[in-house]
Symmetry: C2
Subunit: 329 residues, 2 copies
């Protein structure tokens, strides 16, 4: 690989001039520029981004830190982030924390050490913004889960309202004995739990079962089995993310529970499968593309203007009512 010196030599100019041609940073005599461009083409020269990063003390990389990219919600966001980053010439480092604070810490450190320009970050529950030094060094945009700090931009769903609306949808459809499955790994599960309770209270109802579990299919399955076997069996199950929904659906199918006649089911996040199963599942869809895009834009804005006061964008979910929550006549 040729470097800037080779180009300079070939074009009979200094490296500074080559750099200027590349950066369009100064006025260059057209014929000089021509010679440089030729040399670049000749040598198939490409600037070394690492060297540039070191020199200018910043990079065109951002980090994406989520619990697990396999969660369809994060998959969609990841893709949206990558698209938005690509448009600005940035690349994306993918980091999965598995809700493990140590892994999270390790990655955050790594990203800092890699001099990333910023991070889009869905923190574990244990994460405490204040106790970390990253803030000063790396711009952050928090997604999906709120943190108590006002030091970072955030892009969130209005989880309480969304859960409340989804719960009311069940109540409006005649269900009264509601149970809920919530992820125990994030503030999101808690917020949705709050919305769930709020809707019940407004109708003077009590939940017949609430489980906080690890947000995985297996746990959704097991918790649902437990709900189905309890004395006061629910007539509707609320799940706070798509993995729990899948587990719950599977459990009902295995137990030959008729959905929605015996037990209704609703969940969060749109996925490939929720409209394909029978009955199709009622979900509170999150605008994942928008979340990813806005988060990335916010990050770029902060990178350019590090001192602007942090902003929280709260988005609304949209209820997609389908067969799993409407009693068949």
């Amino acid at each position: 690989m040729s470097n800037i010196k080779d180009v300079a030599k070939a074009a009979g100019v200094s490296t500074a001039t080559v750099s200027r041609v590349l950066a369009h940073s100064a006025i260059i005599k057209p014929e000089t520029r021509e010679r440089v461009l030729e040399a670049i083409a000749q040598l198939n020269y490409r600037p070394n981004l690492i060297a540039r990063s070191l020199r200018v003390q910043k990079s065109a990389r951002i980090g994406l830190v989520v619990s697990d990219i396999r969660n369809p919600f994060f998959t969609a966001i990841g893709r949206a982030v990558e698209d938005a980053a690509y448009e600005q010439g940035y690349s994306v480092l993918m980091c999965n924390t598995d809700e493990n604070p140590e892994k999270e810490e390790l990655y955050l450190n790594l990203l800092r050490d890699e001099n990333v320009a910023g991070v889009i970050f869905s923190p574990t529950q244990q994460f405490n913004m204040a106790s970390h030094t990253y803030g000063g060094r790396m711009p952050f945009v928090i997604i999906d889960r709120s943190v108590d700090s006002h030091e970072a931009d955030m892009v969130l769903l209005d989880n309480v309202s969304a859960a409340c609306e989804l719960t009311k949808h069940l109540i409006d459809n005649g269900y009264r004995k509601l149970a809920g499955l919530f992820g125990d790994a994030s503030t999101t599960g808690q917020d949705r739990h709050r919305g769930f309770l709020q809707a019940l209270q407004e109708h003077h109802l009590n939940p017949v079962g609430v489980h906080f579990v690890s947000p995985r299919i297996k746990q959704g399955y097991d918790a649902t089995l437990a709900l189905l076997e309890q004395a006061d069996r629910p007539d509707a199950i609320f799940t706070s993310n798509s993995l729990l929904t899948a587990g719950a659906f599977q459990a009902m199918r295995d137990k030959k529970i008729s959905v929605p006649n015996e037990v209704a089911l609703v969940g969060f996040d749109e996925t490939t499968w929720d409209a394909l199963v029978d009955p199709p599942i009622t979900v509170m869809a999150q605008p994942t593309e928008e979340i990813g895009r806005i988060a990335t834009e916010l990050l770029f804005r902060r990178i350019q203007e590090p001192t602007r006061s942090p902003e929280t964008v709260t988005l609304k979910g949209s209820l997609i009512a389908r067969g799993s929550s409407t009693k068949r006549k």
Copy 2:
């Protein structure tokens, strides 16, 4: 942020000594090491990886280049790659090409400019290894799609056999009028088409319909609609990836076709939804975790030993027979 000079000063040693302590590269007097370690802790020093990269001319980053991380197959592989990379202290740059050769080229260039240690890569059909200069500069491991070159390690599925086996499964279950939907964006679709035809030939059958389409749900849906409307309607549909399967399934449901009694359906790749729908879908599962892990290991091996002769690992799929391909009595 403090740098190595600060540490050196604080510990009363030279930067060289600090570097040595960090690298365990030489014997250091225990008390000196102690002082250095203390200074490091005191100043919360972390080595700048960009500077290190520049100096040693390599990095602990690898690129992952796929068409779309939202394809569950690539999602799973991405996660496996990230895990394997993490274990070795490497980070992963995620790149989506959308089957677009220009985007692919741009990313490959970017990765090279970023001095990545290597790339795990699912190439577009247009990609030509020979015409690229990356080979010399960046170790490659090709996944999912074969290229004609013997210059790179590859991790592939035995697509022809897998497709053949899946097709035979249909034939064994009494289906005779088979149609196939294949992705037009990769060699994989072609290979699976070959396997499909091979199985048919062995039973002296002809396909009643073959479509090469863009590997997306919508295209699977539309192509299936076309198949269902044609004069000689198939009694079984073979799909070459999970997005096409989803589209086909949806089309049959919308057209109220009874699966598998009227038309059977089989596909590739395990997903969350294929076992949840009714009937559950028979699929040829790919060992995605293994593919990702092996690809990453192969890449590390090549990074360490760039001259070893390239290796192709061919894995077998596993047939998961379910209701969508077994006529109900």
